[in-house]
């Protein structure tokens, strides 16, 4: 149970995803399961795709038709609770927030973890972006086999040893 472990159930995760058809284009997936007083996801989205509304404690709602997958909300969310996902050529491509150093390199093969932090597969880093406006939250864009769509959540931290 997420309230005890911090790990959402598979059903909870799936409920936040758009349909596989919708995922032919990149879409934001928001995993903000509990009401908290917070709304940068809403105010950061240039396409008005996310609504928290008058009551800033409400859970964010996303309009997948309006979402372009630009990724701005991903680095604006202080809870690191948003990623952008897409299905392409049998792979799930994910853009996730990442606040550890060293950053992976484009093309690098990395370990990919699930919501428990367990390594579930390898992934290929497609891109790493770190512009000034992201304010030190990098976006790591990686690809895994599409069967890991609902499991992959981030890459394993390496401390460069």
């Amino acid at each position: 149970m997420i309230e005890k472990t911090g790990i959402p159930s598979k059903a909870q995760v799936k409920a936040e995803f758009p349909t596989p058809e919708e995922l032919s284009r990149p879409k934001a997936v928001i995993e903000c399961y509990k009401e908290i007083p917070c709304n940068p996801c809403e105010t950061s989205c240039p396409f008005d795709a996310i609504t928290v509304g008058e009551d800033i404690n409400a859970r964010p709602q996303i309009d997948f038709d309006a979402c372009t997958g630009c990724g701005i909300c991903v680095y604006s969310c202080p809870g690191l609770a948003i990623m952008v996902a897409r299905l392409k050529n049998g792979e799930a491509e994910m853009k996730v927030p990442y606040e550890f150093t060293p950053l992976p390199e484009k093309g690098e093969i990395v370990n990919v973890v699930d919501r428990r932090g367990d390594v579930i597969t390898e992934g290929r880093v497609l891109n790493v972006s770190k512009s000034a406006k992201q304010d030190r939250t990098a976006l790591v864009h990686f690809a895994v086999d599409e069967k890991y769509l609902y499991d992959a959540i981030s890459i394993e931290v390496s401390y460069g040893s």
Binding site: I2, G6, E35, P37, D55, I56, N57, A58, G79
Partner: protein
């Protein structure tokens, strides 16, 4: 005796915004903090903040702090006394201050207290062993001085502070063995819990620390399961090989100075324990105000709003004209209502109801 029209004690988010409002209205303000750097808790917050844009949400605490201090610099009537501790306060609004081993007194017409809170400790065997730290101390070591507190940490407490400090430890390359939580649910925001869990850090509910093990320094920790009455269960002990134990089990408002002067203080558990009795942020001593974590343990977002309200009220009481005062006070009140309207605000709302009943 030195004089200052207004003295603000504590340069955290609440004190900084209170000082800003008073300076804007034209008052003379002396801001006192025992630390060398301004910002209170904000100096240590390297993570992005929650809240809405009005409270600088999505910016990091350290960066919010910069904006708040910049606001004060242009004012000629602003004086700063850093590395100065207020050690005494009397009902005639005289403060005793200590700087560089020298005591001096300061007379004010109006005083705003924004001294924040102190961390709780908990009793367990060997809790005085070197290597047992409060979460705030760990944060200060890491984020202010760039020192790693240890190699492997056991965190006690899963409120936002425990979760955030655990995350910051991992960012610094320090391993977090687990987070223990005495109650049956995670205390802090689930988004913080999830981002820690995906780093592989286990959060264990219904568990607490039994003892620290070691001769001259922590070498291990013993955790155990708790029953419904929060009593440790014999035989459920588990050992963690850690060199650091970090305690993040809550905060208490620093009311001592107000109590010295005879301001009324009441125990309201929902607000964090003993808190000053307040009406519109004024204590039971006229011209003496309290705001931020001192008034109720909450967030920097609400502390900033409370500081502004206290500052405006104090300026008005000193007969300064505050532009659009009624409109601004209403807007600030609305901000607080918004911040507190959801489930995380349940406690504070209940506590403030009790407070209303007292005044």
């Amino acid at each position: 005796m030195q004089k200052s029209e207004v003295v603000v004690v504590g340069a955290g988010p609440a004190g900084l915004t209170a000082a800003h409002e008073l300076l804007k209205a034209g008052a003379e303000v002396t801001l006192i903090d025992r630390n060398a750097s301004l910002g209170g808790q904000l100096i240590k917050q390297t993570h992005k903040f929650f809240g809405s844009e009005k409270q600088y949400a999505a910016h990091r605490g350290i960066d919010i702090l910069e904006r708040l201090t910049e606001n004060l610099i242009p004012y000629e009537r602003f004086h700063l006394l850093s590395e100065t501790t207020v050690v005494g306060f009397y009902h005639d609004k005289v403060l005793t201050c200590l700087k560089d081993d020298r005591y001096f007194k300061l007379q004010a017409d109006s005083v705003i207290f924004a001294t924040g809170a102190s961390e709780h400790s908990i009793p367990f065997e060997n809790n005085d062993l070197p290597g047992v730290y409060a979460a705030g101390a760990v944060q200060t070591l890491m984020n202010e001085y760039g020192i790693k507190p240890g190699q492997r940490v056991l965190m006690v407490g899963s409120g936002n502070i425990g979760l955030i400090v655990s995350y910051q430890l991992m960012q610094a390359g320090v391993d977090v063995a687990a987070v223990l939580e005495a109650s049956e649910r995670i205390g802090g925001y689930l988004v913080h819990a999830s981002k820690l869990r995906r780093l592989g850090v286990e959060i264990r509910t219904n568990m607490s620390i039994k003892s620290a093990i070691g001769e001259a320094h922590v070498e291990a920790a013993e955790a155990w399961r708790l029953d419904e009455d929060w009593q440790g269960i014999e035989g459920s002990e588990e050992r963690y090989d850690v060199d650091t134990i970090c305690i993040a089990v809550g905060l208490s408002p620093l009311t001592e100075l107000l109590e010295q002067a005879g301001a009324e203080v009441e125990y309201i558990s929902e607000l964090g324990g003993n808190v000053p009795v307040l009406k519109d942020y004024e204590t039971t001593i006229e011209g003496v105000y309290a705001c931020g974590d001192l008034a109720n343990i909450e967030e920097a977002s609400s502390a900033m709003v409370e500081g502004r309200i206290a500052g405006i009220r104090a300026a008005q009481a000193l007969d300064y004209t505050v532009e659009n005062a009624e409109m601004r006070l209403k807007a600030l009140d609305d901000e607080l209502v918004d911040l507190r309207s959801g489930p995380p605000g349940d406690n504070v709302r209940r506590g403030l109801k009790k407070m209303e009943g007292l005044t």
